[in-house]
Symmetry: C2
Subunit: 187 residues, 2 copies
């Protein structure tokens, strides 16, 4: 199972067996059931998570109680409430399972140790972070530029797998429209 993480990292930097053993020693493994929370709004954020299997959603609940989905996290994705993780403050978002999931957990302390002890891992995280930033900008652009229907179709092209796995209600919360409007779109 650790091999999944290794393959993932080695798509960007090469690792020796010793290095990878060390890396593994800094992660713990956890299993969650559908609907369980990995991060609960208002509580401390202990870990960043690497998703081995399953599907998560990162959400924010606004003042009126409406839930918005900042991102989905599937296999091979990293996810956390990063603002809270990096600053060690309370979560403003929640991270919850849409399917049973297995994740590797990395504490901030171990993240820093990883960066410090294995410079290659710092390169790895830098690349990942840049890609994450670029992805977020693409999403901003999509929200600014496209209407709900176009956003829906873009998402369908970008992540076709999602449509088998999440309800339209969840997709609507990601796209930023009401589920009724989304339902009326594909006519």
């Amino acid at each position: 199972m650790q091999e999944k993480l290794r393959n993932h990292i080695e798509q960007i930097v090469r690792l020796t067996n010793d290095e990878f053993s060390f890396i593994c020693s800094l992660f713990t493994t956890k299993e969650y059931k559908k609907n369980q929370f990995l991060i609960h709004e208002g509580e401390s954020v202990m870990y960043a998570y690497f998703v081995v299997s399953g599907l998560l959603k990162l959400t924010y609940t606004d003042g009126t109680g409406k839930e918005h989905i900042i991102s989905f996290a599937m296999e091979d994705w990293w996810e956390s409430d990063f603002p809270a993780y990096f600053t060690q403050t309370k979560a403003t978002m929640s991270l919850q399972c849409l399917e049973d999931a297995t994740v590797f957990c990395l504490s901030l302390e171990n993240y820093q140790k990883l960066c410090f002890d294995i410079p290659k891992m710092e390169s790895f995280f830098l690349k990942k972070s840049n890609l994450g930033f670029i992805g977020s900008q693409r999403r901003i652009l999509s929200l600014l530029t496209n209407n709900a229907k176009e956003r829906y179709e873009q998402l369908l092209i970008l992540y076709p797998a999602l449509f088998q796995r999440v309800s339209k209600t969840q997709l609507a919360a990601y796209l930023g429209v009401s589920r009724e409007t989304l339902s009326r779109l594909y006519s």
Copy 2:
């Protein structure tokens, strides 16, 4: 003038004089006048820019000719069409001066050299990238959660300086509403 860059970097990592001299040797300086383009859609993206002074906007023009502002870049900000910069492909965005500007230019080659030769700079860029990612996520959340009026007020709180420097038309293009709608908001 280089001191601005040094201060900026040293807010995150400490530098020796030698290190900083080397860093400086990898940047070139350029001056632009208001309305000039640093990056033009469809052309190659040679540099990432550190803004010494002035104000830039990163824009995307959609199929109907409407311009959307992905971000403003003021003093001490890094900006580029990063997707095109990192992959050395043609720009899909444009970077243009809203005010006369002085920038330091960093080629991708020199960026990589910087990361490779001075690991501290890799740490610096990782931290910056994480902050950029977090900022983008905040913006996504704001677009999903808040209506135009709330977004306007948040922006006002976050970057009060912008309001002295940018026309309402530009602000509207950033907030994702028409300038007429923005005009009607603050009643």
